[in-house]
């Protein structure tokens, strides 16, 4: 059993990679989701087209393909990325495309009344968004953002295909070195599950914070 500790450490190394991928991927996805989501409803048609194209392409193709393009095809144009950078970029852009639709949907779900009040009070476009629309749209986005973050965590395993040693990759190493299939895969199952519980808990906290004071509104 002494050996197993070493193997567990190997898997925990992988878990750390998975956590970093998840955190950075989520951060990128969040930024991208807001940019593309706002772009989708921007008053300028070219911006809307660009945002729509991005969203449709990244939702319409698989994350495997996206990852391969970013890691193997992009270098042909002179942009070489480390596996970690490629992984974060693929995850962020993929999940960001789904997040963009969440941002857009939440903004459009804020009653039109609210927009009209901001016009009557002569706020500028940015002020309307910043002070009235987004604060009311944010609580609508958070539950789905939580799901997206968990989706992203689960998708991190694809990076093992570009030989990034995330948790799944390490589990396979352990399996091939020990011949034991059950133990490494039970371990990562438990860790993945714990991580998604953690994400859910964090999102729950944020949600409660953001919706505080909005009770009785919806």
């Amino acid at each position: 059993m002494g050996d197993w500790t070493g193997y567990l450490l190997l898997i925990l190394d992988g878990a750390w990679v998975t956590v970093r991928l998840t955190v950075m991927g989520c951060a990128l996805a969040l930024v991208v989701a807001f940019i593309a989501g706002l772009g989708r409803i921007a008053p300028w048609a070219p911006v809307r087209w660009l945002a729509t194209a991005y969203i449709e392409i990244f939702r319409g193709t698989s994350i495997f393909v996206q990852l391969f393009w970013i890691y193997f095809v992009l270098p042909l144009t002179g942009v070489a990325l480390t596996p970690m950078q490629a992984g974060v970029l693929a995850l962020g852009l993929n999940v960001g495309a789904y997040g963009a639709e969440v941002v857009r949907g939440a903004i459009l779900a804020v009653p039109r009344d609210q927009y009209e009040a901001t016009v009557a009070l002569n706020l500028t476009g940015w002020q309307r968004l910043r002070h009235v629309i987004l604060p009311q749209a944010l609580p609508l986005m958070l539950p789905t953002f939580g799901n997206n973050a968990i989706e992203l965590l689960k998708a991190t395993a694809v990076v093992s295909l570009i030989s990034l040693s995330d948790m799944t990759f390490q589990a396979q190493i352990v399996r091939s070195q020990t011949g034991n299939t059950i133990l490494p895969f039970v371990t990562i199952l438990v860790i993945y599950f714990a991580l998604s519980l953690l994400i859910a808990a964090i999102m729950g906290r944020i949600e409660r914070r953001v919706t505080r004071g909005l009770d009785g509104v919806r």
């Binding site: 009344d113 009209e116 009557a120 002569n122 706020l123 500028t124 002070h131 604060p135 909005l214």
Partner: protein, 278 residues
Amino acid sequence: MIVHQFNAAGSKARQDLDDAPIIRIHDLRKSFGSLTVIDGLSFEVHRGEKLALIGPSGSGKTTILRMLMTLETISGGRIEVCGEPLYHMSRNGAEVPADEAHLHEMRRHIGMVFQHFNLFPHKSVIDNITLAPMLTQGVARADAERQARELLEMVGLADKEASMPSQLSGGQKQRVAIARALALKPEIMLFDEVTSALDPELVEEVLEVMKRLAAETDMTMLLVTHEMGFAREFADRVLFFDRGRICEQGTPEQIFTNPAQDRTRTFLRKIIAAGHRV
């Protein structure tokens, strides 16, 4: 009292009714798809005038206010506010459709109170009121809050500044909405059926505030209402709309006691039958 700041030119305003009109509407048209709602409408409003717009449902009263507030585009014709075209601007000597910057500039003259209050649910009463002056007029927070408290006092809600809108009754919400619109000190205020979403027992408290405003300020006010008794008391002039046009206009006395048009008579009879006070 806060009203004094609106009252600077106070009683004088009413005598200056023959100054240049503050609102000039000429041959205005508005269609929604194939439905023409406003059809060749022209009228003028003088500075300080209190106007009541009445008429059957669907006659275009709300649409007119919304066009003045730039919440709808116009399909044709012209609106001038404070001597400047609202939906047009001149560029290189030619008149072109107004851009957002021009609309932003023009909106400074106009405020609006909505039927459903449209308070910001995520902001406290006082933040609802201070938001726009701080953002659009660069008023310092302390000054904006001082002014907001005066306005709250005027509408009888001095004790509610920290409340959230969800904690207020409809009548209280509407009074906050009035204070919020007043905080920007617009020259023109538009009121669209501001009491029709309220329970009957809450109507009076809002009308009281409006009556005081009408009596004590020199603001130009356009009021759409089904409260004929209130229109009569409030207005200098009543416009009766039918199918997107002015069917008849005159002093409240003329319209309510001696209307010239059959359609006006029919409308007033119906509204009395429906239980509205005249």
